[in-house]
Amino acid sequence: MVEDRSLSSKILDIIVHTTMIFMLVATLYPVLNVLASSLSSSAANDAGIVSIYPIGLTFDNYRMVFEAGKVPKAFTNSVIYTVVGTAVNLLLTSSFAYALSRKHLALRKLYMTIAIIPMYFSGGLIPTFLLVKNLGLYDSMWALILPGAISITNFIIMRTFFQGIPAELEESASLDGANDFVILFKIIIPLSKAVFFTIGLYYAVGHWNSWFSAMVYFKDSSKYPLQMILREMIIAANSMKDAATSEDFNTAADIINLNVKGLKYATLFISMFPMLMIYPFIQKHFMKGVMMGSLKG
């Protein structure tokens, strides 16, 4: 292409680069600031002089957060909910998506309708809450996992993928006497590792970052995931409305609440870190996923 070397082109370049640099700084600064503050001494944090490099470098904040208070337990909880939740998601979503991707499945159209209607109408918060309670799932891990076991968007992405697998592969296998289960495990799953990986990570991000269900369904705060602890430590401590719930804070958490900003920063960073490590690896799939989810769904 012939380069446009006019003045207007240069001005455009300046606008483009200024915008991009502003975007980079505005996005990265808060995150780097959290990291730097979490590694800074409490004197530096109290003075509010930390920007993006630690002042009075120390690992005490992380050591204290992991030694006392609710963070270690909550971290373990979050890992368990994420791993078990994602496994359930993948198992249910993939088997349903596979079955509905096969054209010869009887009643396929009816099943598809059943899966699509909830995109437009849903029971909403209260009926779902009462259902969970009636099923005896209240205050249990399953209240976080089962109500969202199949995301319709992810189901559609998986189904579309399975539909793209050539039918000849299965036909030859079924001539050899393999049934649908054998075909699924021996042929389909090995071919679909990438889609399992991507959808699995989508689900995992959702579980790791979720907090609302935990607030609604957990009475026992020792079951809280990390995000709920974060909310208690920084946000609820900042507002009076949760004065009632803060009564059951243990003393260690109370100390954390009362002062030491470094501990809050450390907890903030711990809660963000796993996702920040994961997301660059799934980003090449975003384009496809978003297009399918928003246009087709």
């Binding site: 483009v16 991009m20 975007m23 996005t27 096969r102 009643l107 159209k109 900042n238 963000m272 928003s294």
Partner: protein
Amino acid sequence: MFRLPQLTIKNKSNTSLKGRFKNLMAQIYKTRYLQLLALPGLIYFAVFQYVPMYGVLMAFQNYKIRDGIWGSKWVWFDQFLKFFKHPYFWRLIRNTVLINVYQLIFVFPIPIIFALLLNEIRNRHYKRIVQTVSYLPHFISMPAIIGMMVMMLSPNGGMVNNIIKALGGEPIYFLTEPGWFRPLYILSDIWTSTGWSAIIYIAALSGVNQELYESATIDGAKRWQRMIHISVPAISPTIIIMLLLSIGKLLSLGAEKVLLLQTPLTYETSEVISTFVYQRGLVYSEYSFSTAVSVFNSVINIILLYIANSVTRRITETSLW
């Protein structure tokens, strides 16, 4: 939405109801392994999607947990009337609509501008780095985002108030000031969603035939002229669809972010329909009343979405040609 292949039940000789049923049963038996694979999913949908839909009936009752849906007293539209007469009714509508309108004005255009400018970057490496960074906020949880805001805006040593103090101003209590709720909500929305929302426009731009740009250049078009006459028209169908869909969502706003960002001192501007449903239903256990509020909200949403959808259909059909 979905064009599904017709389910073909081969009925060679038998067209009676009984014959069809037999045929269907034979088809089901033939695909029994697949049926078995579909079963857990079907159970999931039945239990966790359709049972709550049935539970919506409690909006027309005076629901008591002890009596269940079968035994509770039917009051028909009383709960709805109670909501319409509620002293906070207009405040809730106003707050919900206003945040959406501000999102439309201030948040909506930014990903479009970002995508258009990103498209002007030649260096692939640079482009990828910017894009990767722009997705980052999408992967940070809402409690962490609001947590960072709380720390940054704190009147005691928060960065923003430090700057205000350094400039000789009085510290501002951002989170307890009703006037600051909407600006904070919108600003954090921009921070969180710009990169992610831009994906759809970037995808549309990547589909533009490069020859168009080349022939425009040969014809003497300047770069900004190419941007306005080729890139903008290329994404305008997407813009129109996204715009109409967000107009269709004027009265829907999730509770999660608002619950984290609001304090009782800002209810004046921060209480929206979904947080009201949460408070009434789960904090005060007024199950029927809060379900009625959320049913009212869904009905309005469906009507708005339907209108937006039919307008979209008409416009995109014409813009296709």
